[in-house]
Symmetry: C2
């Protein structure tokens, strides 16, 4: 064979060649390999520490021997169950490989070179990752009082004729939330031709009334939900969207039709039916939220209000102090993440863990604070 | 709230709005729902009828309780195992949600509006689905003797300055193959700046020497392998590619980083270690291939040579006759598919099934042939 040589960047498109190597998140496994440690508590990715429904585990186990078969590419049974849960039709639902996968598909359907898109500065980074990946122009506005700012988002969308606005409600990484009525008002204020991506991954942990009352046919919004949080199935990779059927059908033009595998469909379907487990999870999160506030208070720190399965702890100083505390907690065996943008980067974002997890945190925090203060 | 109305096709990009609703494959579950039947034998999707490795099933079952955790987004252990298997480095490997998912990523990295791309007419349709989905221009050349035509593919690539050439070797849907030496020659003949996508999903069923001897750093080719066929894990959704590290790294710029879930990684890793099961599967396929040839011969039909886990049966007449036989076999409880392009559509494509599967086929075929002949 010839000695192969190619021009640099070939065979990538100009866009692909221009993209950075950066990734949205570094996983805890990578940190463990890099630092030669083993985390005793995983509290950084808002995984659901009370575990999946035993019914979901049983359904996965039962389906495992059938894994030689592709899953149903129409996801018929799962879509029917979601429609029943939400009082809409299966035609209003779309499934994806997690909310991350759905965000990629939505952006691909709507964004090309230069398309203006609006979000909060410092919000869930995977949305921006996909927007940049499709050549879109990301326009952002800062948080106000550690919460997203719907009025400012609407103003920006109007000013820049944005095609998409992204709002996580409740918010990630801050845990704050707006009422459903505020979100409905935001929808009414959006300029014509602008689609709201309403990421409700944490909605099951939020107060009643946080989900806006939106007709499933509303063409101005797509709502996203996750099986990774309240359902404890992050390792399955399953999320769904609800939107007008015209938009939902468009996903079929570009999606990986067999992408939602057989075990994923079986596990998701079983999880949807286990209401008792969901209640157990939410109760565990409420207890952990109170405990985290107490642990913070013991050291003169404040836990921000949380409508999610994590709490931001205001470390009371700047980003450097928070980062030093995070690093020290990592050395002590706790996987935790934090917001990346000032002034929110004064906080640590800690998942609502089990009693054991939070015992470890309570034990490690004074040491970590002392180490960070000594630097 | 306001009464929502939107312009037609909004908010899609021009490209997304122009795409057809068509999907690459209709699943057997859809056919069962549409026709109110239940298939007794699934022989249409080249699933692996001898099942997954018991070690893979055990690994999935064992990991099921841990599914609250995201999978490692770097897929470290699985990439290391693949590198060991192939004598390359982890940096030469990329993982995807099946070969389908990888095809989507490769096309997104390399194809934009009008990019010329070359493939065989009638080959695996999901590749063309992705090319059209990214606005590429699909240029094809017919099969020669029920096999892909490497020389014609190279000529077309040269003539149209194609950026990609797709070759499935062994071929799907025909089951034919070229020697590894022919593929290596094709690589040398490719015009500069053209990437070969070498889809080797069926390579474990092919004669020794079918896989070309290519250095893993070769920048002219990406090889794709599947866990859906010889490993019997179609319902997990796992495929991988091997290519030059520069190209492999580019996938990290656009992929769904947590897309390969925790159970998928566990199952794939365990399957790779079960060499005895792989040998058992290949032996089962060889036996089924002989039995299918015999069943065909019993009715004066011919099974084409197969280097895959399926065989094409030449039904001896035109596409209409083959389609009528396929429909009759469907009514009799057999899920089978067939090539869509003349003259290959004179054939049925039947997966290498179990003894029971092929008993059902042997029983149903005379009835189906009689029904098709009577139409």
């Amino acid at each position: 064979m010839q000695n192969p040589t190619i021009p640099p960047h070939w065979p990538l498109t100009d866009l692909a060649a221009s993209l950075p190597q950066a990734v949205p998140f570094v996983g805890p496994e990578t940190l463990q390999r890099q630092r030669g440690i083993s985390f005793a508590a995983r509290l950084g990715a808002n995984e659901q520490r009370f575990g999946p429904s035993p019914l979901a585990v049983a359904a996965i186990t039962q389906a495992a021997g059938d894994v030689w078969m592709y899953g149903d590419p129409e996801n018929h049974d799962l879509k029917a169950a979601l429609a029943a849960k939400h009082g809409c039709a299966p035609a209003h639902t779309v499934l994806g490989e997690g909310v991350d996968g759905l965000l990629g598909l939505i952006v691909r359907l709507t964004v090309d070179m230069g398309t203006p898109v609006v979000a909060s500065r410092g919000t869930y980074p995977t949305f921006g990752y996909h927007v940049r990946g499709h050549g879109g122009q990301m326009i952002d506005t800062p948080y106000q009082g550690d919460a997203s700012d719907p009025a400012a988002l609407v103003d920006l969308a109007r000013k820049h004729r944005a095609k998409l606005v992204y709002l996580a409600n409740p918010d990630n990484p801050m845990g704050s939330h707006h009422t459903g009525a505020s979100v409905a008002q935001m929808l009414d204020d959006l300029p014509e031709g602008c689609l709201l991506i309403l990421d409700e991954a944490y909605i099951d942990f939020a107060p009643a009334g946080t989900a806006p009352d939106i007709t499933p046919d509303d063409p101005r919004v797509i709502r996203l939900r996750s099986f990774s949080k309240s359902y404890g199935l992050a390792g399955l990779r399953l999320g769904y969207g609800m939107c007008a059927p015209e938009l939902a059908r468009a996903f079929d033009r570009i999606r990986n039709h067999f992408g939602i595998g057989r075990l994923v469909q079986a596990g998701g379907l079983a999880a949807l039916g286990d209401h008792a487990h969901l209640a157990h999870v939410v109760a565990g999160s409420v207890a952990a939220r109170a405990r985290l506030a107490q642990i913070a208070g013991d050291h003169g720190l404040r836990a921000l209000p949380s409508a999610t399965n994590f709490s931001c702890i205001d470390m009371g100083k700047d980003g450097n102090f928070a980062r030093a505390t995070l690093a020290a907690l990592g050395d002590l065996g706790l996987f935790i993440r934090m917001p990346g943008t000032p002034p929110q980067d004064r906080c640590l974002r800690i998942s609502h863990g089990t009693v054991d997890d939070l015992d470890l945190l309570a034990q490690a925090l004074p040491q970590a604070l002392a180490r960070a203060a000594g630097q």
